[in-house]
Amino acid sequence: MTDQVVDHPPPKGGKARWLTGGRLFWLILLAITWAASTWSFALYKALDARWIVRFPKAYQIPVDDWLSDFTKWLVEDLSFGWFTFRDITRFIASLIEAPYDLVRSLLLDGFAQGQGQQAVEIVPALSWIAIIFVFVALAKYARGWKLAALVGTCFAYLAIFGQWASAMVTLASVLIAVPIGAIGGLLLGIAAYRSVRVERLMRPVLDLMQTVPVFAYLVPILVLFGFGPVAALIATVIYAMPPMVRNTTVALQSVPEQLIEAGKMMGCKRRQLMWKVMVPAALPSIMVGVNQVIMLTLNMVIIASMIGAGGLGYDVLTSLRRLDIGGGVEAGFAIVVMAIALDRLSQAFAERQLRPQPDKSLPLPKRYPWVTATIVVVVCATLASLFIPFFRVYPIEQALTTGTIWESTIAWININFFDAIDAVKTFLLTWLLLPVKQFFGGIPWPVGIVVTGLAAGRAGGWRLGLLAAAMMTFIAATGLWNKAMITIYLTSVAVLLASVIGIPLGIWAGQNARANSVIGAIIDTLQTLPSFVYLIPVIMLFRVGDFSALIAIVLYALAPAVRYAAHGIRSIDPELIEVGKVAGCTNWQLLRRIKLPLAAPSLLLGLNQTIMLALSMLVITALVGTRDLGQEVYIALTKANVGKGIVAGLGVAFLAIIADRVVNALARQSRERLGLE
């Protein structure tokens, strides 16, 4: 690695001192790219060589057709003798459908016998009062009264604002997807921990699963499992499981070595060591993974409704399509409320301190007063719902609605601030978005491939360079070059803005406790919101187009920039800051000379996360009319074109992988320079 560390030749005669060999390389690379971008069209005209700006059609590789044909073969022709591939997918579907129906009946529909109109209800669904009480009791058990009040308010909101039925459909899918995702992730994580080979096999799959946009695998799932809640659940589980796998592996790896040795010395067998020593000891960290599964499941709620999940997500999606501002905000807010309640609840379980065991001499009801109370309330309220309608569903006529308020607010803002908003929009479009778009859009594909390869190679060695060049070639050869460039343009502008806003905020938060508590709370809330929700207000204020997409992406991708900057500043050795103070640095010098250089690796990691989030959000913004790879995936979804969806999805994933590896390599270099590694 030593050959890549930027070398500092002695300055010659005092001029051009900043122009070191390393900087010169990047400058020349940028200049070449810029020149190629600016004159590519002229060059094509002068030489009459259209291949410079467009990848020749004759050489395009029809990967998408191959994939579509393969899927068709899977679904229609593949047979294992006694059963077909179709039978397998049907079997999996039924495995998931049964528990889902059960939970849904319990929460909302009730258990009925018979079909359609003749159906006779045998057992009613749980009363809404009972469900709220169960969650309040859980919150009290996990943390205390404050959390119980918060969770109670959140669920009461769902009832009072008339979102109950949709919310219960969503809750049912969460209650099915989360256990599958958590337990599956736990088992895979354990397998990866135990066997290096499994881990090596799983890592690229996980990488891809986290970088391929969700839309891309919605298409094959749709084709394999059909439109409906089961397909939505499967997509949700695939989306929510990877972090659980990673988290479990890391949690197991960080179990203290001595604890494992103690387990061995006490004569634990392999299985006992895992389930009696390691998993319980790692449980707090594993629960953090469960929390992530819950949040990602809720994040998927709206996207999953595109392939058949009902509930709140479907409400938001239909409202967005109808441009029904009030309905969209209300349903979106209901998702947020539910996300906050479930997030805080699962966090409380993760951080829960063990408490002394109850006195065993007491009778059962007194020993477990909350369990007893919950059972009593659930039974009474549900029995009462048989006779009194109020207990069954919250009366619609008493439900509140805020829809009109939102609509008039938006209308008011649009009337009064239209000029101001429009001025900002125009300014950014003219001076930032359009020039960047022209720059990236103009890069001819052969130059793009070479430059990407060179840049990646400079940052992380020739292997990375070759990998990056190969991935870019794939994008060009599948005819996606122009859309990929639009993706890069939107991502880079969004990342730039998110960094310009986020890093100073993070630095401020890192140095000031009060700023940290306020900024931290805002960032936490922003991260709890499902990515889709960001689109709602943005569309209303800025209408469809690149600019709306940009705002949504910046908001969504802001959090890591802030977090990592704050973390980087905070984790600097206090002695080094004292050194600066003793040497008489002003605050500004302290920041520029000591804090920023030392926080650089952390800032780069934040940049990495910001890019990843921006790319994942970018795909969703295809709904508001961007013309990038995301739109390609979205079109494939609406046409159920498996090949096209996967290829475009891979395109996005490749861009993400290149960015990830390059930034990580840069971060590693800067850590090495600081002697942190």
């Binding site: 001595q258 040795e261 103690a262 010395m265 006490m266 004569g267």
Partner: protein
């Protein structure tokens, strides 16, 4: 005083690096420092020979990085040695099956860890009962045993506490109780008191000696603290860079250090705290008057006050009543101030 050897380890090697086994064979099982450096291997344990006898406290002493922790992990096979033989009660520990190894660990070995290694999700009672739980002992029996053990280590009344609610010293008492609940014959203690404050450490050393006087286990005790080693040990092995420099009783180490490295340790230790009356006794003069008897295993420092207060020398008596000699104030003071005797 010949005793049975319970654990016999001969020529044990543990190397870290690529293809350690092949490397060892290539160098006839005894690579030199230069060989190791050339192959970028780390020799954590190099050719260690240790015989641990029934009922003794055997201390392995060395500074950090000397390989003492790796050696004790080889002895308990937590770490697989690169070469050598380890014989435990007639069985070759390195070749027995996984099942037999688990059985030996369950019934015959106990281990205490530097950082306590208590299970954070279990109470004190459940932690102490855990080794029995793993063996499938029923709840009533194992909890009764655990209660007994907790009382022995002086933690009665804290059974339902969780580890994080206890102080470091108390946590290590739980660790000790847990390692003894299966009544092992061989008891490993890996720097058990190093993570504790000096005052608590002293208290725990006394507690350890009290327990040992009751239980009479065979003990392998790891420490980096030379004072702790001479205070507790019957025999000490001093390690440096993976090699055992010398194995001897504390007194022999003091009086006869084998290498300059060992001598460096002993130089600053007050000899009167190590030298026992047995070693400085002079022949009894049948005509002289004696103030009384003193046990032969007493150290000079412990006996000093009595010797100083009496007008006459004392007779030195072994545990079985045999008189082996006498000490007078003159000799005792010579040891005390470090003047060479005789």
């Amino acid at each position: 005083m010949s005793r049975n050897v319970m654990l016999d380890c001969s020529n044990v090697w543990k190397l870290y690096g690529p293809q350690a086994d092949a490397f060892l064979t290539a160098h006839n099982g005894a690579p030199s420092d230069a060989d190791l450096a050339k192959a970028k291997m780390i020799g954590a344990v190099r050719g260690a020979d240790v015989q641990i006898q029934d009922g003794e406290i055997f201390v392995i002493m060395g500074l950090s990085g000397s390989g003492k922790s790796t050696l004790v992990r080889c002895l308990s096979r937590l770490v697989e040695p690169s070469a050598g033989a380890i014989n435990f009660e007639g069985q070759d520990l390195l070749t027995i099956s996984e099942t037999d190894l688990i059985e030996i660990r369950r019934k015959k070995m106990g281990m205490v860890f530097q950082h306590f290694a208590l299970l954070p999700h279990l109470t004190v009672l459940q932690n102490v009962a855990f080794p029995l739980d793993v063996q499938g002992v029923d709840r009533t029996t194992r909890e009764a045993r655990a209660h007994e053990m907790i009382e022995t280590v002086g933690l009665k009344g804290r059974e339902d506490y969780y580890p994080r609610q206890l102080s470091g010293g108390q946590q290590q008492r739980v660790g000790i109780a847990r390692s003894l609940v299966t009544e092992p014959d061989l008891w490993f203690l890996d720097e058990p008191f190093s993570a504790l404050d000096p005052l608590i450490r002293r208290e725990m050393q006394d507690e350890f000696l009290r327990l040992q006087s009751m239980l009479k286990k065979t003990i392998v005790f790891i420490t980096h603290d030379f004072d702790e080693a001479i205070r507790l040990a019957d025999r000490i092995a001093v390690m440096k860079d993976g090699r055992i420099e010398q194995t001897a009783t504390p007194e022999e180490l003091m009086t006869n250090p084998a290498t300059p490295y060992v001598a460096e340790f002993t130089r600053h230790v007050n000899r009167s705290k190590v030298v026992k009356l047995r070693s400085i006794a002079v022949p009894v003069d049948p005509d002289a008057t004696y103030a009384g008897d003193l046990p032969a295993r007493m150290t000079v420092a412990e006996a000093m006050e009595q010797i100083d207060a009496a007008a006459h020398p004392f007779k030195v008596v072994e545990a079985d009543g045999e008189v082996i000699g006498a000490v007078d104030a003159q000799t005792a003071i010579s040891v005390m101030i470090g003047r060479s005797t005789k």
